[in-house]
Symmetry: C2
Subunit: 298 residues, 2 copies
Amino acid sequence: MFKQVTIVGFGLLGSSIAHAIKNNSLAQKVICADTNQLHCDKVLELGLAHEATTSVAAGVQGSDLVILCTPVGAMGDIAKEIADHLEEGAIVSDVGSVKKAVIRDMQPHLPSNIHFVPAHPIAGAETSGPDSGFADLFKDRWCILTPLEHTELRPIEKLTKFWEACGCNIEIMGAEHHDLVLGITSHLPHLIAYTIVGTATDLEDDIKSEVVKFSASGFRDFTRIAASDPVMWRDVFLNNKESVLEMLQRFTEDLTALQRAIRKQDGDYLYQSFEKTRNIRKEIVEAGQAEYATPAED
Amino acid sequence: MFKQVTIVGFGLLGSSIAHAIKNNSLAQKVICADTNQLHCDKVLELGLAHEATTSVAAGVQGSDLVILCTPVGAMGDIAKEIADHLEEGAIVSDVGSVKKAVIRDMQPHLPSNIHFVPAHPIAGAETSGPDSGFADLFKDRWCILTPLEHTELRPIEKLTKFWEACGCNIEIMGAEHHDLVLGITSHLPHLIAYTIVGTATDLEDDIKSEVVKFSASGFRDFTRIAASDPVMWRDVFLNNKESVLEMLQRFTEDLTALQRAIRKQDGDYLYQSFEKTRNIRKEIVEAGQAEYATPAED
């Protein structure tokens, strides 16, 4: 499908893409560009790339597809660094969890003779590093493409085929809309999870050990997403500030209303609030998005 | 193990206990006491009890073990109703998610010739009703007993054996400590989950459908626990008010600090907050409490 693909940043996403390319024969050659020499060594050892370099500028030369898999805060600098070394007609893409800021940071540096197609495969795990990747990470996941207004159709189609071959279903939308939707479905939930796990971490030591012991009663569900990569998530919140703060404001208002109902012993309000949330779960189950049938424990 | 067990309230917990008794031959006879006639009919149809009655007073007669499996808000009235009908020496227990309020509401009504041993099996699912039960619900789960100061050792041991036979590991602690620990591990997470799912439910319709579609990116984990029984959870919050409000206060302070860091673009604070929460996940995995290995998706 591609002559040569450069993957910039070999964390969970980068190494999973390398696995998917290998398993599905999507490129003749894969280049690893990662500023961490240990990552480069590991990638070659694992046979995930044909060549590895700590210089992103050198790494992108001759590639017809370049995918940035670094935290989104680093993508502007990388775009600047690779700009003069990109092959004419190459597709440049990324896997960032925010899209408006990535476009804002990368677009000004990129030459007009390449095709910039921002993308976000909605897939991840609580592991990280070059040896954490696996090809099935993308199986049956959504990959959202947020092409720019002037982006040509052919590179969009080509990247669509690439992600479909990796196992994804494709959705195309504007960057601003992406950031709003992911703000509520992903960024706010992660922020809340980080917060509640942090609150528990700060508890007195004797209670903390019991929090671990009895975590199956609800807390556990939050620890899983609060174990995600801290650099990646720092960058997400710094770069999707408006959507996250807007959703957080709504969340806080709703939480304050529930808090007041508890304080005032307003059982009716609590009941009605808890009743209405059942339907959305039903819709998720019907949409085939409720992954596991493991029961919640109360 | 027991001559006759009365289960008061045949929801998920009650019917699962009936299954566990049947599978492990823990009683010669099981009586269903449920004010809902449809539940009684269903229970007999499913063969989960030998007799069924809508009168709890009649249902407890002659039983050497009575387990209240209703929402905690109803337990005081039930204790009053059954008080004069309990067999001398019977063990009276419950499965309520709060313990201080259950003792406060039940204890004054119960005669001194019975043994009151409050209990809380930490197990549940997002289903409810008499046909939702299954014996394995309690397998490898914790069951916390919170006996009173004057409770004799023998009934505590007998109830311990009963829950162990159902598959539980037993922990004994004071009611106040139970409510504090469950406040952070269970009640606060449920309140937060209900809130965030409610916030999403109130969004404009066009975004709401996408929330369902892309729920795997984090939101999904919250919908599972926000699908729990609304009556049960209303009663939990009304009856563990102090612990929940205390934990909620800490949570809100921590969330506000993160919110300010996002607004001020304080990346260092965000990074440090997200970094420290990884360890607690590691401890949960090491304690064998991380049930499924399904990766979180970002």
